[in-house]
C-alpha cells in the first residue's frame, strides 16, 4: 500500500558544523578539508580511505554511496582523483571524499565491502580510466567491448575522432571511410 507523506521540508543540517566534527573524529586519517560552494570535501590518502569510509558509514551515518567517479587532472601530479559522493539519509547531509592517485601507480583498494553499489561504479572507472581496484570481485570492462585497448576518458585520448568535413576535404574523407556495400 502507498501512503502519501507530505511532511514539511526537513531543514538541511548545517554543513558548517560538519568539517569540525569530522576533523575531530578522523584527525590523523584525513589530509585536508576543502569547502567550496557550501560542499565539504575530505581529501584522504589512499592507505586510510577504507577506514574513513567505514567510519563515515557506521558512525557518521552516511549510509548511501550516491556516486563514485574519477577525474583526470592531467598536467598535475598526482593525476587522478577518485571521488566518493556520500549521502546521509538520517542527517540529510552530503559529503565528498577524494583520493589522489599518481599516474605511475593507479591502484586503489575496493570499496565494495563498505558500499555494495561500488561494484559497477568501480568497473566503470576501470573501464574508462584504467584504475585497478584491488579486491574487486569481478573487475572487467562494463561499457566498452571486452577487448578494447586503452582507456578513453584519460586526457591523452583525443575527444574527436573524425575530421570535420568541409568542402575541401569531403571527397578525401569519403574515399577513406569503409562503406558497406552489401
Amino acid at each position: 500500500m502507498v501512503k502519501l507523506v507530505s511532511e514539511p521540508i526537513r531543514p538541511v543540517a548545517d554543513t558548517r558544523d560538519l568539517p569540525q566534527a569530522l576533523r575531530q573524529a578522523l584527525s590523523d586519517k584525513i589530509s585536508e578539508v576543502v569547502i567550496f560552494r557550501d560542499e565539504v570535501t575530505l581529501i584522504v590518502p589512499r592507505e586510510h580511505v577504507i577506514e574513513v569510509l567505514t567510519h563515515l558509514r557506521d558512525v557518521q551515518q552516511f549510509n548511501m554511496l550516491t556516486d563514485e567517479t574519477c577525474v583526470d587532472y592531467y598536467p598535475r601530479e598526482p593525476r587522478f582523483g577518485i571521488l566518493y559522493q556520500l549521502y546521509s539519509l538520517p542527517r540529510n547531509l552530503r559529503l565528498r571524499v577524494k583520493v589522489m592517485l599518481s599516474e605511475y601507480d593507479p591502484k586503489m583498494p575496493t570499496a565494495v565491502g563498505v558500499y555494495r553499489n561500488a561494484n559497477w561504479l568501480e568497473r566503470e572507472i576501470y573501464d574508462l580510466f584504467g584504475i585497478h581496484f584491488e579486491g574487486h570481485p569481478d573487475l572487467r570492462r562494463i561499457l566498452l567491448p571486452a577487448n578494447w585497448q586503452g582507456h578513453p576518458l584519460r586526457k591523452e585520448v583525443p575527444v574527436a575522432v573524425e575530421e570535420n568535413a568541409f568542402s575541401f576535404n569531403r571527397a578525401r574523407i569519403d574515399a577513406q571511410k569503409p562503406y558497406a556495400t552489401e
Partner: protein, 427 residues
C-alpha cells in the same frame, strides 16, 4: 586540452574492427558469476540479447535458468555507450547542454536542469524567480512525460497493449508544449545556465490548462484498467521485492527506493529551483515489489498536476534570464547601441564564460530517481570533467538480486518496474 584533429586512418575507433569485437566474457570470468550447476549443464544459460522487445532498449541479460526459475541474472550493459562525458569535455558549458538531453532521453528537461544547476552552482549565477517557477512547471511536465512512457511500455510488456496507445496519445499533448516553448519535440535544450532560452509564448497557459483539464479523467481511466485488475495484480504483487536496507545499500533512488518504504525525494530533502514554495506530497510504498512501485508512480502523476496548478497560479512576471552579461547573452536590440553588450555577446559566442577551479555536485529528482551532475571546472570555459550520476545505472545493479528465484516472465515485469533508460545507464 584543445580538440585535436586527427586523420581518419589514425582514429582510435579503427583499432577494433567489426570482426574482432569480443562480446562474450571469458570462461574464467563466467565461472565466478554463475552457480556451479551451470558448468555441469544442469541449469541452462540463456542469452536475452541486446535486441529484444521487452528490454526497453539494448540491454543484454545472461540468464541462468533451472527450468523456468532464474538462478542467476547477469546484466551486460554498454551497448549504447556514447561517450557523452568525453564529448562534453570538448564543449563549452553552453554547447554541452544538447548533449545532456541525450542521456535520459525520455525526460530531457530534467537533464538540462541538472546540468544547468551544476553550472550555476559552480560559477555562482542567480536565476530569476519567473525562470525558477517555469523550470518547476517544465520539470513536472517532464516527469509526467517520463512516467507515461514507463506506463505504456511496462503495460505493453506485461500484455496490456491498449494502455500503450493511450499513453502515447497523452504524451502528444506534453510534446506540443515542448514544441511551443522551444521548437523541438524532444530534445529541447530550453533550460540554459542563468534561466531559460526565452520567455514562454503567449498561448502557453492555454496549453498547460488543457493538460490540467484533461489529465485527471485519463488517469482515472488508466487506474480503472490496471489498478484492481486481477491479471495485473497476479503479475506484479510480490514480484521483484527488495527491502529498504538493500535498496539503500545498492544506492537506488526514486520510485524504486520509495516503493520499499524509504522517504527520500531530492525535491523535499535538498530543494532546488524554489520547490520549497509549493505544497505537495511524496508517495511512499511499503512492500518493495513491482505493484508498489507502480502505485508510487501513478500517485506521482497527481502530485505533479498539483504542483503545476500552484505554479501556474503563482507565476510572477519578470525576466527569464539573469542580468549578468558575463554569463547570459544580452538582448539583441541592446547590441545596436551598447559597445559593452557587443563585446559580451562576442566573448560569449566565441569563447564562452569561464568557470572557477573546483568540483560541485548538483542533483535533481527526475522521474527515474536522483539525477546528479558532478562538474569539475578548471578555470577555462570548458569543463575538465562532467559526470552524470545516472539513476538507471544504480537502479539496474540489483537486478540480479531482485530476480533470484523469479520466473522468466517476471524478469520482464521487474525490468519494466525499475524503469531504466539505456541512454542513462550507458551514457
Amino acid at each position: 586540452m584543445e580538440q585535436t584533429l586527427i586523420q581518419v586512418e589514425d582514429a582510435p575507433s579503427n583499432q577494433v574492427r567489426l570482426e574482432d569485437v569480443q562480446l562474450d566474457i571469458t570462461f574464467e570470468q563466467l565461472k565466478r558469476l554463475v552457480s556451479p550447476r551451470a558448468l555441469t549443464g544442469e541449469t541452462m544459460l540463456l542469452n536475452m540479447g541486446p535486441q529484444h522487445p521487452s528490454t526497453h532498449g539494448v540491454l543484454r541479460l545472461l540468464l541462468e535458468l533451472d527450468g523456468e526459475t532464474i538462478v542467476n541474472c547477469i546484466p551486460d550493459i554498454g551497448y549504447l555507450h556514447t561517450g557523452i562525458e568525453k564529448t562534453a569535455e570538448g564543449k563549452t558549458y553552453l554547447k554541452a547542454i544538447p548533449l545532456t538531453d541525450r542521456t535520459d532521453y525520455l525526460a530531457p528537461m530534467s537533464n538540462n536542469l541538472a546540468f544547468c544547476g551544476a553550472v550555476e552552482k559552480l560559477v555562482g549565477i542567480e536565476v530569476p524567480l519567473r525562470a525558477q517557477y517555469l523550470r518547476v512547471i517544465l520539470m513536472e511536465l517532464t516527469r509526467m512525460n517520463s512516467h507515461l512512457v514507463w506506463l505504456g511500455t511496462h503495460a505493453l510488456d506485461i500484455g496490456a497493449m491498449s494502455v500503450f496507445l493511450y499513453c502515447m496519445r497523452e504524451r502528444e499533448m506534453i510534446l506540443d508544449i515542448y514544441e511551443a516553448v522551444s521548437g523541438a519535440r524532444m530534445m529541447s535544450s530550453y533550460i540554459r545556465p542563468g534561466g531559460l532560452w526565452r520567455d514562454v509564448p503567449a498561448h502557453f497557459p492555454q496549453l498547460v490548462q488543457r493538460v490540467l483539464d484533461v489529465f485527471p479523467a485519463r488517469l482515472l481511466e488508466y487506474e480503472k484498467l490496471l489498478k484492481e485488475n486481477p491479471m495485473w495484480k497476479e503479475r506484479t504483487v510480490g514480484v521483484g521485492k527488495i527491502s529498504a536496507e538493500d535498496a539503500i545499500a545498492w544506492g537506488m533512488t526514486g520510485p524504486c527506493l520509495r516503493g520499499s518504504g524509504v522517504n527520500y525525494d531530492v525535491r523535499k530533502a535538498q530543494p532546488y529551483s524554489s520547490y520549497d514554495h509549493f505544497e505537495f506530497s511524496v508517495p511512499v510504498g511499503s512492500a518493495g515489489d513491482v505493484y508498489d512501485r507502480y502505485l508510487c508512480r501513478m500517485e506521482e502523476f497527481h502530485q505533479s498536476l498539483k504542483i503545476i496548478r500552484q505554479a501556474m497560479a503563482k507565476l510572477p512576471p519578470g525576466p527569464v534570464m539573469t542580468d549578468d552579461r558575463k554569463v547570459a547573452p544580452p538582448p539583441k536590440h541592446e547590441i545596436a547601441y551598447s559597445m559593452e553588450s557587443l563585446i559580451h555577446h562576442f566573448k560569449l559566442w566565441t569563447e564562452g564564460f569561464k568557470a572557477p577551479e573546483g568540483e560541485v555536485y548538483f542533483a535533481v529528482e527526475s522521474g527515474k530517481g536522483e539525477y546528479g551532475v558532478l562538474l569539475s571546472g578548471d578555470g577555462s570555459s570548458k569543463p575538465r570533467r562532467v559526470h552524470f550520476r545516472a539513476p538507471s545505472f544504480h537502479n539496474l545493479q540489483p537486478l540480479g538480486e531482485m530476480s533470484k528465484g523469479a520466473l522468466l516472465a517476471d524478469i520482464v515485469a521487474i525490468i519494466g518496474s525499475i524503469d531504466i533508460v539505456l541512454g542513462d545507464v550507458d551514457r
